[in-house]
Structures are given as structure tokens and as C-alpha cells.
């Protein structure tokens, strides 16, 4: 069979997917680019061409820079915590102890819980008057008065990060665990004979096996954290005083609440660009770690 025919056939099989992708992703994206140069409203007028006005206005607004900082904080903190706790949990689950299978089965629960349910659950837990967190901490005498966890800028973002981590660290743990189980036993045994301490063993023997899979998890989680919308929408809607407003929430406000489709589109594209740059940087990093690991 000729190679050209093989290739043509492959393209034909790809075609339905590509056509749908162009319809639901490609066209909207191009349209968003077009919109971003107009002053179009969400409903009604098509809008006039305004050049790069929307971009300059959005980029220079204090709302944007502040929201960018908030989003970055959220992404960096939640992903870092998920990584560390996830790897620690995987190391634990890689040990032999009774109940290990049960514990591993539990890990799937937070991951399977719908994001909105998770957000609702934590919102109830953080409730300032009747929440379980206040209840537990006062009954344990760790705090003497109920607190407004989601009402103070200092704690609101942290509270969101904890809720996000609780849902997502098991994913990291499961990925890391699968990688750990691929580490050959004789290698760890050999390093033991060489007299390597537990930290050296983790750093030089185990980590190289984890690096690749963890990088992938890191990339996926960072991109997701940067796009975060659901959990914040349900828990704080960006408050208090906009201290938890992320980029996606800002775009929603601009395009849908204020109905300025044009400037909303430009903001959405700025976010897209940021995520793309981030992803490309990571991709380069993945290549490097993959190269050094083998």
C-alpha cells in the first residue's frame, strides 16, 4: 500500500474531528479576534472598528493588573501545594501497609466530586456564622471567636486555594503513584546498599522517574488554575473588595454583565496569550527534563 494513500486515508478519518473543531473552536476564536477590534455590544449592534483601543484600555486599567496578580497568586500557590502534597501522598501510598488499597480508592473521591459541588461544600464549611471550620476550630480552642474566612482579603484567597487543592491534589498523587510503581525495585535496593539517605535517595534515584509525569501534571494544573472560574464564582464571586477576582471572572463581567463584547473579547485574548506563553515555556522545560531524565 502506498504511503500517499495511507496519508490521505488518515486525513479522511481525521476530517470529521477537524471540521467540528474548526466550527466550535476555530471560528469562534477568529471571531473573537475580530470582535476585539470593535466596540460591539453583546446583543444588537455589530459595532464599529476601533483599532487597538480595547487592548490599550484593558491593559492600562488598574483592574487588569490587579486581577492578573490575583490570578497568578492563585495559580502558583494552588499548583505548588498540590504538587508537594500530591507527591508526599504518593510516596505514602507506595509504602506497604494495611488499608492501602482502601486509601487509594478514597483518593478518587475529591477528584470525582463536581467542581461546583466542591465549591458549594467549602462555602458551607467556611460560613462565618454556622460553618464547620469555625465550629471545629472554636471547639478545639484554636480560635476564640468565629471568623469571616471568605470576607477578609487575607483569608479569602487562601480559603479558595485550600478548597482547590483539596480537590486536585489526589490527581497529582495518582499520577505520581503510577510513576513510582514504575521505579524498578532493584534500583532502590542498590542505592540502599550504597548507603544513600532517604533524601538523597528521593532526589537522585526516585525523582528522575517522577520528573516527566509530574511535569505533565504541572503543566495541566497550571493552565487550569490560570483559567479558574467555577470555584470562585460559586464561593466569592470575586469579593471581598475584588480581592479574589480572577481574569476569567473579569472577562465575564466585561463581556456579559456589562455587555461589552468588544472589550471583553480583547481581554479574553490577552488571557489566552498569557496562557499560551506559559504553556510554551513549560513545553520547553518538559523537553529539557525529558532529555536529562533519560
Amino acid at each position: 500500500m502506498s504511503g500517499t494513500w495511507m496519508t490521505t486515508r488518515a486525513w479522511l478519518l481525521m476530517l470529521p474531528l477537524l471540521m467540528v473543531m474548526v466550527a466550535v473552536i476555530g471560528w469562534p476564536l477568529v471571531d473573537t479576534v475580530g470582535l476585539s477590534f470593535t466596540d460591539a455590544k453583546l446583543v444588537g449592534t455589530a459595532g464599529n472598528f476601533v483599532g487597538i483601543d480595547n487592548y490599550t484600555k484593558m491593559l492600562s486599567s488598574s483592574n487588569f493588573s490587579r486581577t492578573l496578580v490575583t490570578t497568578t497568586w492563585f495559580a502558583v500557590a494552588s499548583v505548588a501545594i498540590e504538587m508537594v502534597i500530591g507527591v508526599l501522598a504518593a510516596l505514602l501510598l507506595n509504602q506497604e501497609f494495611r488499608g492501602r488499597t482502601f486509601l487509594r480508592a478514597l483518593m478518587i473521591l475529591p477528584w470525582a466530586l463536581p467542581t461546583v459541588v466542591n465549591a458549594t461544600l467549602w462555602r458551607l464549611i467556611y460560613n462565618p456564622e454556622y460553618g464547620a471550620l469555625n465550629g471545629a476550630l472554636t471547639q478545639l480552642h484554636l480560635i476564640d471567636a468565629y471568623r469571616s474566612w471568605l470576607g477578609e482579603p487575607g483569608t479569602a484567597l487562601a480559603a479558595l486555594i485550600i478548597a482547590d487543592c483539596w480537590k486536585n491534589f489526589p490527581l497529582v498523587a495518582l499520577i505520581a503513584l503510577a510513576a513510582l510503581q514504575a521505579v524498578p525495585r532493584d534500583i532502590t535496593a542498590a542505592s540502599l546498599v550504597d548507603g544513600a539517605g532517604p533524601f538523597a535517595r528521593f532526589r537522585f534515584v526516585i525523582l528522575p522517574y517522577l520528573a516527566g509525569p509530574l511535569m505533565v501534571a504541572l503543566v495541566l494544573r497550571t493552565i487550569e488554575a490560570f483559567k479558574v472560574f467555577d470555584i470562585i464564582w460559586v464561593m466569592t464571586r470575586g469579593g471581598p473588595a475584588n480581592s479574589t477576582r480572577t481574569l476569567s471572572i473579569l472577562v465575564y463581567q466585561e463581556a456579559f454583565s456589562f455587555q461589552r463584547a468588544g472589550s471583553g473579547a480583547s481581554l479574553a485574548l490577552i488571557v489566552t496569550l498569557l496562557v499560551t506563553v506559559l504553556a510554551l515555556a513549560y513545553a520547553a522545560l518538559v523537553k529539557k527534563t525529558a532529555g536529562s531524565a533519560t
Binding site: V20, P28, A112, P114, G135, W233
Partner: protein, 281 residues
């Protein structure tokens, strides 16, 4: 096998217990809230276990009496099932041929990479044109329209999973069948697809979970019982008349039940799906 000191063993069990508590406590509390009388949930100090379990909220939410809160909830449950079902079937129909093609013809792999790269796009970058497009087609507030939009999320992911699944099936088996005179589609149907069945199942499960979880598009593109999904219904409950926290918790338990059951029962398949891409890099 390395020797373990007693202290180390105690340490391991302590950590395991801690991990179990961290994971279980919030979920258990969700359930306890759903069966606690409202007064218990507003008590100070907080009562951690209801004096009498009260399952009436489940009955309330699952009732289908016309024009009741239960009818609204069950309608959203049905919408979620319909949207997830339609989107999953459509995604698989696209993903299976595409996944196979890329797996067997690596030279076109870059096209799949491009499709997967769309994962980076924040939904807000597509939302306005999708909104206008659906509006133009009369598909706003429509389960079918929402299912089409969900393909933006499901199709790339399932294709990627299917491709790694086909990669694991040796080409030689297909080649042998072809030599025996079977045509391409016959070969795929008789040989390849049965072998790939577990991957198809895993992909379908992931697709259902992703669709079940989706909130942003559903928030924007649905408005009432004809299409509103469970996630939006729960967000509405949580943000509105919240006097009964137990009712919100009940809705949460009911919405979480299907994916959690899928997760527990199909654990092995899901984990292999989660990690196959990750481990291979």
C-alpha cells in the same frame, strides 16, 4: 525488601490516617449536613451528628410534582444526563477514527497536537461568538446546543486517549487480518475495536465526567428547566435562598453521586487513563 523500624511503621500509619481524614471529613460533612435538621446546623456550638436523621430533603428534591422545587431539580438532573450522553457519543464518534488515524500515521500527528493545544484556550475566549452563534441557530437554552459546545472540551481529550489506546495495539495484528483479505473497516470492526474496547470505555467515562462537571458554558447558554444542568442548578441554590444549608448539601450529594460511583467502580480504568498520558510523557 527493606527493613522497617517500629517507629517508621507508626509514622506510616499516622500519615495514612491523616490522609484518610483529610479526604473523608469534608465529604462526610456534606452528607451529615444533608440529613441534619436545620436547627442542628445553626447550633452553637455546632452539632456534628444529627439527633434524628432526616431524609425528607432527598424526597423533596426527587419529587416530580409539577411546578415544585423537586421538578426543577429533577429536570436539571435529566438535562445533565442528556447533555453528557449526547456529547460523549458525539465525541467518541469523532475520536475513534481520528485517534486511529493518528496512531497509525504519525506523519499527521501534528494535526492532533493542534487540536490538543486548544486545551489552553480559556472558555471565555470562545464564549461570546459561541453565544452569538447559538443564538443565531436558535440553540441557546437547548440541550443539543450545549452538547455541541461541550465538544470543545470532550473531543480533544477523548481523541488523545483513543490515540494512546490504539498505540498499545500492535499494527501486526491488523496487518495479518488484511493479508487474510479483510478490508480496512472490517479489520477495524472485527480486530481493532474489540481490542480497544477498554480504552473506548475509559474515554467515554472521562467524557461523561467532564461534561457532568462543566459549569461555565452551562451558566451562559442555558436559562431554564429546558436545558439548565445540575451544576448551574446547584450554584443557583447555593447563591439564593440559602436558609436551609441542608437542602444545598442534599443537592450536592445527589449531583456528586453519579461521578463518585463511576469513580469508585471504574477506578482501575480511570487511573490507567489518567496516567497513561502522564507516564509516557
Amino acid at each position: 525488601m527493606e527493613r522497617k523500624s517500629a517507629a517508621f511503621t507508626v509514622f506510616i500509619y499516622a500519615c495514612a490516617a491523616l490522609l484518610a481524614v483529610v479526604i473523608l471529613a469534608p465529604i462526610a460533612w456534606l452528607f451529615v449536613m444533608s440529613i441534619s435538621p436545620a436547627a442542628d446546623l445553626a447550633a452553637k456550638p455546632l452539632r456534628w451528628w444529627p439527633q434524628a436523621a432526616d431524609f425528607s430533603r432527598y424526597q423533596q428534591l426527587l419529587s416530580t410534582a409539577e411546578n415544585s422545587a423537586g421538578a426543577a431539580f429533577t429536570a436539571s438532573l435529566r438535562n445533565s444526563l442528556e447533555v453528557a450522553g449526547m456529547a460523549t457519543v458525539a465525541a467518541l464518534l469523532l475520536a475513534i477514527p481520528a485517534g486511529w488515524a493518528v496512531s497509525r500515521t504519525p506523519s499527521i500527528g501534528w494535526s492532533l497536537s493542534m487540536v490538543i493545544a486548544t486545551y489552553m484556550l480559556p472558555p471565555v475566549a470562545l464564549a461570546v461568538p459561541l453565544y452569538m452563534g447559538l443564538s443565531y441557530l436558535g440553540l441557546l437554552n437547548n440541550v443539543f446546543g450545549l452538547a455541541v459546545v461541550y465538544l470543545t472540551i470532550l473531543a480533544p481529550f477523548t481523541t488523545w486517549l483513543m490515540k494512546s489506546g490504539f498505540d498499545a495495539i500492535p499494527r501486526e495484528i491488523e496487518a495479518a487480518a488484511m493479508i487474510d483479505g479483510a478490508g480496512l473497516f472490517q479489520t477495524l470492526r472485527i480486530i481493532t475495536l474489540p481490542l480497544a474496547a477498554p480504552v473506548v470505555a475509559t474515554s467515554a467515562l472521562f467524557a461523561v465526567l467532564l461534561a457532568w462537571d462543566e459549569f461555565f458554558y452551562a451558566l451562559l447558554f442555558t436559562s431554564d428547566q429546558r436545558a439548565k444542568t445540575l451544576t448551574v442548578a446547584i450554584a443557583d441554590l447555593a447563591g439564593g435562598r440559602v436558609s436551609d444549608y441542608g437542602l444545598i448539601a442534599t443537592a450536592g450529594v445527589l449531583a456528586a453521586l453519579p461521578p463518585v460511583l463511576i469513580g469508585l467502580v471504574m477506578q482501575r480504568a480511570l487511573i490507567s487513563g489518567l496516567t497513561s498520558g502522564g507516564v509516557k510523557g
